[in-house]
Amino acid sequence: MSDNPEEILQSLFSAARAAQPDTSRLEFGFETRFGARLREETRGSLGTWAWKLCPFFAAIALAAGWWNYSNLRSDADAQIVVEATTSNDDQTLLAYMTGEHR
């Protein structure tokens, strides 16, 4: 073989050009494998999005809980006022006004 690296290179390039690998075996059923991976990736990306949206939904849940709790408290307050005024119970009303009634 020639000692000239340029010639060696050229002979290697032409050999590589001639040696196109046969991929027909791998091509067989490729669509099926690809379809499966695509579905997996799509499912995976849905899962990723779900995780990304987690803090958002947690914030909504906390806000809803706080809103519900504050509504319950105002409902309870209203209930006491109603009780006091309907029964004319001055003691109850007084206790509520002074904060002793809880």
Binding site: P5, F13, E27
Partner: protein, 196 residues
């Protein structure tokens, strides 16, 4: 002259949708349209990717990566150039990323560890093309990812500088400089091996 008219009604052949129609179908949610695009273009993608992958498993993964990228970016396909050109750019980009990743993870082995020798009689004209291709592939693993890409596209796939520029997104002069350096480096590797 009387025309012979067959009384059998002609079966209308179903129109074969072109790539643009299939892209539109795939964008509209038709999974089978994209499958048809894969079926049509897989041979070309396999042919290009096989120059970079080292085994069947890598090749299959690489081709799947190409089509997944195509699927994700399908809405960016404008239809101004043929679909296969657009896909070729994606293929080159995926192969380049694969080479960069492989270079980071591959084991450092010397040329001496390779069973083939440049002075080996198997590298003569009568040598099998496969053995020479393997030897070249091994020597090319010493190159950087962009050098490998350029050598493969320019010397093995015999593409013009303009084509490579179009495929890689690098300017033509940049491609020429990189190709020159890649050749020089490859020659240096071969010379070093020859001196041993």
């Amino acid at each position: 002259m009387p025309r012979i008219v067959s009384d059998k009604p002609r079966m209308a052949e179903p129109a074969i949708p072109d790539d643009n129609a299939l892209v539109a179908g795939a964008l509209g949610g038709d999974e089978s349209a994209f499958t048809e695009l894969v079926r049509r273009h897989k041979r070309r993608v396999f042919g290009a990717a096989s120059r970079f992958a080292r085994d069947d498993h890598q090749l299959d993964d690489l081709c799947q990566e190409v089509f997944i990228r195509a699927f994700r970016n399908l809405s960016k396909f404008r239809g101004e150039a043929p679909f296969e050109h657009w896909l070729a750019r994606i293929t080159v980009s995926a192969c380049y990323d694969f080479l960069r990743k492989e270079r980071r993870t591959r084991e450092q082995v010397s040329l001496d560890a390779h069973p083939f020798d440049l002075r080996d009689s198997r590298c003569d004209a009568s040598a099998s093309a496969r053995a020479a291709a393997e030897l070249l592939a091994f020597a090319m693993r010493q190159l950087s990812a962009d050098e490998r890409l350029i050598i493969t596209l320019a010397e093995i796939e015999d593409r013009s500088m303009r084509e490579i520029s179009d495929l890689t997104g690098w300017s033509e002069s940049n491609v020429k400089v990189r190709a020159f350096r890649a050749r020089q480096n490859l020659k240096r590797i071969l010379e070093a091996s020859h001196e041993r």
